[in-house]
Amino acid sequence: MANKIGQSVWAFLDERFMLSKLIAFGGKKTVPEHRHSFWYFFGGICLFLTGIQVATGAMLLLYYTPHIDAAHESVQFIMGGVKFGWLIRSVHSWTANLLIGLIFVHMFSTFFLKAYRKPRELTWVTGFLLLVVFMAFGFSGYLLPWNELSYFATRVGTDIAGSLPFIGKGLKTLILGGPDVSQATLSRFFWFHVALLPLAALALIGIHVLLVQTLGMSKPIGERGKKEIPFFPDFLYKDALGWTLILVVIGVLCVFLPWEVGPKADPMAPTPLGIKPEWYFTFMFTTLKILPAHILSFEGEKLAILGFMAGGLLWMLIPFLDRRTQREERSPLVTWIGLALAAYITVMTVLTYALPKL
């Protein structure tokens, strides 16, 4: 009897969602196995961490209050008054940082394996846009606890955006909702963080994953090995091992280094010394700090921001610019450019913390 009901339900769902076809597709799906296969797992880990972000973020919404008079207090209550609130918030914050770090790793591994070449150009483009979206998640989420560091880091960050030529002033006002960081800013950042950016991320992840599933994983240029493993369950088991290990890392970080609340923001207080943005923005921040005020007849800061924007655009369009890989040829120049960029980001980030008075 139960079996019959089960079959009927399955038939009902199968007819509407084409489940048999999906299962058949999954059964046939394979992943190349070679000496660089390790790098494939970072995509899965990023997706897993995104899931954790959504789940913990939704839970934080139960107690967080997006108002300048209550935001800091509500986060303090989450950390001290809500059962396991400290864990949920710490997991959310630590995972956010790990996620952005791993997106960088995923992006550079994809870059060096030249996985962006035809027909996977759009997989690369959506991946790059996802990095931008997640950095925006980080920037908007940083202000939400309304603490001293986040308040002043937001001021510094939006001042940089405000120095852009032509659109700077308008862009700054648009981001802040006024001339300075205020309630309007907190409301906007909250809206960005829980409404706009999740929608953008959902759309981009949807396209990115769909492309990965339909086009499959790319093999590095010149890889002659023909080994492949089934996606279900072999690759998924390996993915699950990675997820398990990252969960242990997150657990240790949360218990031994729970994310701090910090002192409440005081707009009347002077900017504390050594204020800096979250670590993933520091390579740009330090570049702006060390550049001279004027380069030729241009303002150094404006020139650098335009440089970052142009660089980002070129980086996003690399699949279309790198003609050699399109012909399945090695492109050492592009590899060297990638290496230089990775070295630049690493050195500037390290310099921010090693030489804070730079």
Binding site: G80, V248, V255, L257
Partner: protein, 416 residues
């Protein structure tokens, strides 16, 4: 309406600065060509506060700066440099004249000269001692700056050094019967720490206790009034205490007897009690009522202070372990306020009142202690939870690794 006069006044106001700018100043022209001390005023006066109000050399020294000829420039109104003994009256020519001062700065007091006459410096000068400080010793000569300007000799954090220039100079102070270690003593005091380290401009400096233009050493009877300007509650407690009458009879300076004068250190509970470091034993012999009361006060404070430190330690440990304890820390601040109050109450010598305040603090402290212990329990729970979760995840990871290994043995599929 005839607007011609208004136009004229507006034009005059507009061009007046230009006229002033173009005004001749033969004092500057000549003195800038001289050497050393005759040239020095030219540069110094440019930063002088009097220049801000449009006063130049002639404003104090008289003369006619529009004349090139020295004899014509030094006309009948020329007063030259005053003798040292005449400086207070020289400056007072304007500064003691309320009508004159109103045209420059109506808010500035005009009693400096009369106050100076009552000061020790003024009295010495009057008696013919020209070593006594006059206006220029404390304010400078041609580079006088407002006391609100941080580089001014009379800005709070420069005052100890300004006074010390004479008062800590042993050779200069020879012949006077006062010590010369006040500046060193002050620098070691709690007041100096507040001023120089915390940059607290409200911390007392020399003139806050001695007066400025009317500076005079406070007498035994007035020391307590001086201290009460900033420590009124302590003074009130002392007045009500049995010490007040005893000190008056002994002729001892109230606060100064236990805390000293220039070298006032941060008070500690070690000052109270019956051991060698306690000030109480300077007067109270073993077995006396005062001796017993001192021991009782120390016991109360030490007990409460010990509890406070222990609770603070608990919160600090919990915080280090990542547990949120800001609520408890907030309550601990309330306890600290009570502790400070209790320490201050020792000036009243009322052990019953003190015990009541301490009991109130202990009640709050119990809550903080409980919160601290609960936070440490929470930290232990988190670590145990992590150990269990990690063990379970490790088991899962091993199982997955074994499964992956077994799958690997089966071999991968050939590429399609």
């Amino acid at each position: 309406m005839n607007i011609r006069p208004i136009r004229f006044i507006a034009a005059a106001a507009l061009f007046a600065p230009l006229l002033a700018f173009g005004q001749k100043n033969s004092c500057v022209e000549c003195h800038s060509q001289l050497e050393d001390e005759l040239k020095a005023p030219v540069a110094a006066v440019a930063a002088d506060v009097h220049s801000e109000y449009g006063l130049s050399c002639a404003g104090c020294h008289g003369g006619n700066p529009s004349q090139d000829d020295v004899d014509l420039a030094k006309d009948k109104s020329f007063r030259g440099a005053p003798k040292r003994s005449q400086i207070p009256v020289f400056c007072g020519g304007c500064h003691a004249d309320a009508a004159a001062m109103r045209t420059f700065n109506p808010a500035l007091r005009t009693d400096q000269l009369s106050q100076y006459a009552t000061s020790r410096h003024g009295q010495l000068l009057k008696s013919g001692d020209t070593k006594a400080a006059v206006c220029t010793d404390c304010h400078g000569v041609h580079g006088i700056q407002s006391a609100r300007f941080p580089k001014s000799m009379t800005f709070p954090w420069n005052i100890p050094q300004t006074c010390g220039r004479c008062h800590s100079d042993k050779r200069y102070m020879e012949g006077y019967t006062i010590p010369t270690d006040q500046l060193d003593d002050y620098k070691a005091s709690a007041h100096a720490a507040a001023l120089f380290e915390k940059k607290d401009l409200s911390a007392p400096v020399c003139n806050d206790c001695h007066g400025n233009h009317g500076a005079y050493p406070p007498s035994v009877s007035s020391v307590a009034s001086v201290c009460r300007q900033c420590h009124p509650s302590t003074g009130e407690l002392f007045t009500k205490s049995p010490h007040k009458k005893a000190f008056d009879e002994l002729g001892a300076g109230e606060c100064e007897a236990c805390h000293g004068n220039h070298k006032i250190l941060t008070p500690s509970t070690a000052m109270i009690g019956t051991d060698d470091k306690a000030v109480c034993v300077q007067c109270h012999e073993k077995g006396s009522r005062g001796f017993e009361a001192a021991a009782e006060l120390r016991r109360e404070i030490d007990g409460f202070d010990g509890g406070f430190q222990a609770a603070a330690g608990l919160l600090s440990q919990a915080k280090q372990k990542g547990v949120e304890v800001s609520d408890a820390e907030f309550k601990l601040q309330d306890v600290n306020t009570i502790l400070v109050t209790a320490k201050n109450m020792t000036h009243g010598l009322d052990t019953a009142e003190l015990a009541k305040t301490v009991a109130e603090g202990e009640e709050l402290l119990a809550g903080v202690r409980a919160a601290g212990e609960k936070a440490l329990d929470e930290a232990r729970f988190r670590r145990r939870g992590l150990a269990v979760t990690t063990a379970l995840l490790a088991l899962l990871a091993i199982a997955l690794a074994l499964k992956i290994r077994r799958m690997g043995r089966k071999g991968a599929l050939p590429s399609r």
